[in-house]
Symmetry: D2
């Protein structure tokens, strides 16, 4: 049995960490912090968790790094905030899984350029892993700090990694993603106002989204890649559907592509390859699966790969728990292997 704490427990990723940890046989949740809600029962903010014994008496506490000495700490804090807290936790010798963008970049300059921030919490001599188990499992095993991937990068990288690795596509890759609104977080804004979302679908940060360099730097580790990324906000709560438009360099067949994916992800418990090409967000809803389909090639040599994830699970909290399982030597799928909420 290990103990876990969550810094920033009132948001959607905090809620999902709790929902998923509820069923984990080896983890006890110790502290859940919230500046605003300190002293309140966590079920007051997360009514969906009421009736779960594990959390019955759990209350939000104020953020006090001194008090936290759990075996693992999840930082469900925004970028900019994590860089202030993570170094303190690392200093204390705790294992940390950070859900923000602050520790995802090896090259701090890229981070600072795209995030428009000075990074004031750079860590030297600490084992940091980029927490995408399908590509970095061994590093995660040994890491003290895991930088949990962004939601769009998870769907995008998994969608095209086999192609880049195999070198059968041109370096130009177009990622056209569609995300549910929960990705915007728990705080209401003009962007998330129901009448502004409903009956619309909106591209945003069309060429400037911060996840662009994250996708690109990971793919570049595998082969040639120049990533052009555009996200769209869709009128749904959960899920990211990624349409990857790539260009094949030679004559390959649909079947070869499917075979390549099956081989590449052979032992991955959370990757599901759909031969018929059809994936859907409801099949992954609430789960840690990344479903991959598409596999169609058109007259112009464009190869389309489609991936589907739940942005709050495989795109955030589920993947964080998968990383925790790896870090602590638990079975990787513990508390994470169940079917999607479909319909």
């Amino acid at each position: 049995m290990i103990t876990a704490s969550i810094i920033g427990g009132t948001g959607y990723t905090g809620g999902e960490l709790l929902r998923l940890l509820a069923g984990h046989p080896h983890v006890e949740v110790e502290y859940v912090t919230s500046r605003k809600e300190a002293g309140k029962k966590i079920t007051k903010i997360h009514p969906h968790l009421k009736g779960i014994k594990k959390f019955e008496n759990l209350e939000f506490m104020d953020v006090d790094v001194d008090k936290i000495d759990s075996d693992v700490v999840f930082c469900a804090t925004p970028h900019g905030a994590s860089m202030k807290i993570v170094p303190q936790l690392i200093e204390k010798g705790l294992k940390v899984i950070d859900l923000s963008g602050d520790y995802r970049f090896e090259d701090i300059k890229v981070y600072e350029e795209w995030y428009g921030l000075k990074h004031i919490g750079v860590l030297e001599g600490v084992k940091i892993a980029y927490g995408l188990p399908e590509l970095h499992r061994d590093e995660i095993k040994d890491a003290q700090l895991v930088a949990n991937p962004g939601c769009f990068p998870t769907g995008a990288i998994l969608a095209v990694a086999p192609l880049v690795k195999e070198g059968i596509i041109e370096e130009r890759i177009i990622i056209d993603s569609k995300t549910g609104v929960s990705g915007a977080g728990v705080n209401p804004t003009e962007t998330t106002h129901f009448p502004n979302v409903n009956e619309d679908i909106s591209p945003y940060k069309i060429t400037t989204h911060r996840h662009t360099p994250e996708i690109e730097k990971e793919l570049k580790k595998l082969g040639n890649a120049k990533v052009s990324f555009t996200p769209h906000l869709a009128p749904l709560t959960r899920g990211i559907l990624t349409t990857a438009h790539t260009f094949i360099r030679e004559d390959v067949k649909r079947e070869d592509i499917i075979e390549l994916y099956k081989k590449f992800y052979k032992n991955e418990p959370f990757i599901r390859i759909f031969d018929d090409g059809k994936v859907s967000l409801t099949a992954v809803r609430g789960t840690n699966f990344c479903d991959i389909g598409g596999f169609e090639i058109d007259r112009n040599g464009r190869l389309v790969i489609i991936s589907a994830i739940d942005n709050l699970v495989k795109g955030a909290s589920g993947q964080a728990i998968q990383n925790m399982n790896i870090m602590f030597g638990f079975e990787e799928t513990l508390s994470l292997l169940f079917g999607g909420l479909r319909p």
Copy 2:
């Protein structure tokens, strides 16, 4: 370990039975039938269950009652169909949980009148229980056949049972329910056509819905009740929100009502009472909980109770598994106790 079979496994309730049984430690799924899809893998029809080892090699089989000898059989068949199959299963000595309306009525005439069908499978000398554990737990324990309640009745009966039992409201009860579209089943019709549902909310069978006499006969077991029921189709997939308009007979306070509910449902693992009155469909989404709130009394002595359930879980498959747990002496919450998919 017991074995279970599902008759009619391609619909939404079949899919939910499988999703929920996936995590049940004492149940092995033996047969899942489907006339249309016999021979296909169940994950072909239920892609959300792909990757779950328990079901990896499970295929739909044709309906053949002779072959089925599981410890328990779930009939996820429509009314009219169940009455043909259930007697055969009962004859074989199997325990049966029927999700249709065919065995919910003690008075066959009421059934025949509201369902417009001759009941050709009446069972004599068989222990049948109406499968609402909160009211009939002991009978369920001993039953060979459990008639699983309808989705609207589950939400409606649980919402007002304490009031009727206590006798503090007039017998006139107005149930105004709002349901998600999954209640209409897996087959497309004009009613479920997206452009007909979206941006609308539609009352249907305004005074003639079959669940009316089911609600009423259960409440009448507890006290006086004349039920007027109107369901509405809302543009969402899962959930039933029930607004019960009742009329108090004497001067009671909100706090007394809340106290009454807390006492009435004290030991119920799946009833959650919300003191602040606020319930939501997302808090129960995917779960077996019935959340109860409202508790407001207006100038005219109207007392409003609100309940929220997931129509496919507490309103169907989850409750069926809860009944199975009771029938077989398992812990009642097994495979059913987890938080809602919120947001």
Copy 3:
């Protein structure tokens, strides 16, 4: 040709006034005010109006009552704000149509009790009409100030007025309404945050909504009525579906009720009676129609009437323009008679 101004032009009702006035042959829009957006083109805030020549050069101006001397002024201001502005406009001799609740009550005490405000703009000796043309057309004709009805009251009053007038129902009336989110206005709040609305339906102000006394006082002018009202927020943008549960006092038939409604609303251009009982929000979307259906009576003498309106049109801006047409002797349907946006 008359001139019109709009005070508070950035919200949804301001936008709708403009959309609908665009096609009015006798009205020129003079001033549209906005504290926040003064100096900006109105199409910057209302991009859907771009390309309409009438508004091409129209800019928001700061609120300056001294400058406004249009023939008619629409106050699309919140309650509490209208009472400060309307008296100044009335003093200048202008005709005013106020969309807030400030002037809807003959009895100021009722207003002050339900709105929790001291009314500091009471007008004496001014002809004020409650702007529901179907009940108060003659008074509107002569009024200097029209208090445009609330959205819920419009749907509720029109739904049951014939019954109350005819005296064939008990005084106890249950109004269970379902509204789209645009009713909550243009400003984002927790209530309108997409993930909080989507896949849910929420009762709110279950027994305390301000529209309750407005509905009741209008019905009481027609006969006996004790109104119990509960609104629900539904996951859609536009429309109010009202389910009125009433109780008949004697044995009447569905056909009689339909006949009664047809007679009552015989000459009303914006009331559509549906014999088959079926109304939908998409049929009225974008229009000034109020569709009425239901007309079912159950075993317990409950008679259900359903009405459907677009909350922003018949429930606000459309009705305001209908009132303007009446006040100025224009054809009542001018710029308002077109079909709903269905699907």
Copy 4:
């Protein structure tokens, strides 16, 4: 005053033709055909049009080409059906606007290959125009038959035409479109079943959609173009949002691109260019506008153009009426110039 008839009047495009023609001062609707609904009032099928005097007594008639001799006939018939009817109408000397794909291709072989049909209604010596006024206004003026463009092609062609004409992009063009469900028509299918659409977004006919060659052949008239097209079904009723990923051939600036578009579409009443790049489906909802934005260029030379249309209006019936106005010398915007239904 001219007379118009509609063949196939029960579907969504039929309904929209009626809704839009309701306000046309020079058009009388003579016949509206429907095999299935002949004899019924059109408002029985299109309840949103009830109360519009022009249609009060209009009934569906059976399809009988002999009887039809209106000045213009709209064929709102599916592909394959139009090719059987259009030649008969043309033979009678009537002007025809066909909303199907049957007459959109100059090269019949391309049609037959992509539609999988033998074209049995090829017309020789008849003036046929592709009904996109922004590119073919003069031909439309003189045409006897106008082939109204597909919904996706309308949004896609208008989005990139200026770039292709100007020759500043590579020939490789990726069109990633997102459409509302009304594009699938009025008949319920598995694809349009609410629980299958809601909370999902689905690519379909990923590389094989019939609109691909239509987009390409039109762009090729303007310059070099190799079109790769993928449509997605989004959980909304109306609208097509097109994301066009193109690649610039030389160093151009955002401002130059915007300038190019403004010039190209200078006199177009239904094209709205948004300098800030932001377009939305609600701004065009119910209207004949095509809004164009995006105009962003990324590090890799990708230029993104976004267009938004209402698929049933500019993408079908509205454009058909625009074409009618051109063919008959009416003001081009007649009955079509009003603001979008936003929110």
